[in-house]
């Protein structure tokens, strides 16, 4: 049903420090906390580093994620990238799709309670994806 490995358990791979890879990292940082998709990174690089190919952007993003240089989240059929590789919560607006960080660690008691109910599933309770409606979309209704 699902053969794709979402996160490999393979050992870290030796990578190269190329102009393109640096440009991609730079672009993700420039786009800041907007949690850009690959297409957004590519669009940004059209100005910053023209001539760079989309395939390279994808490969560089993958490499940067593997090296834990940046983070990645899947939202509604699209991969979104994150300046910070440090685990943290995210909110996803189910109306406009915007992604934001949520800084509020779960209380230890809640963590225990959830992990207890998880039935052998090891929860990443420092990186939870919350859904909902953002302030802007809420105001627009």
């Amino acid at each position: 049903m699902m053969a794709t490995v979402l996160q490999s358990t393979a050992p870290p791979k030796r990578t190269r420090n190329t102009v393109q890879r640096r440009a991609v990292l730079c672009a993700v940082r420039a786009l800041g906390d907007s949690h850009p998709a690959a297409a957004d990174v590519f669009a940004h690089l059209r100005e910053t580093a023209p001539g760079l190919s989309l395939a390279t952007v994808y490969r560089a993003l993958d490499a940067l994620v593997s090296q834990k240089e940046i983070g990645r989240d899947f939202v509604a059929n699209i991969a979104r990238y994150d300046v910070s590789a440090t685990p943290h919560h995210h909110t996803v607006c189910r109306v406009c799709g915007s992604v934001s960080d949520l800084n509020a660690p779960l209380p230890a008691a809640t963590v225990r309670r959830l992990q207890n109910a998880a039935n052998g599933f090891q929860l990443d309770l420092d990186a939870v994806q919350f859904s909902g409606v953002c302030a802007t979309c809420r105001a627009a209704i």
Copy 2:
């Protein structure tokens, strides 16, 4: 950056009770708590109701979601469907991609705490997506 509406605010639409739509609902129920993707539903229907087209499966699934007859979740670039439309938490294994239900309501104090930190974002705290590693994949390491 993201124009697609993840959840419409439009009023419910009048729909028709067709053989195909009933078959799709039946298939989702037959597949139970495995949280099947559209392709899984289609594969199941190849036996149950041959001749049914993939496009119809997609349209039926969409309709059933709109009518809140079934649930939908987006996991790593693929839509997964849920027998139950009642909001509940999910766990997503980041190794094998399997999806399961997690029955453990967040404590009221935690709900308050999170909603407070959300900065105007209205959180759906009864339908949270937790990531992690399932028991099977954990054992396989």
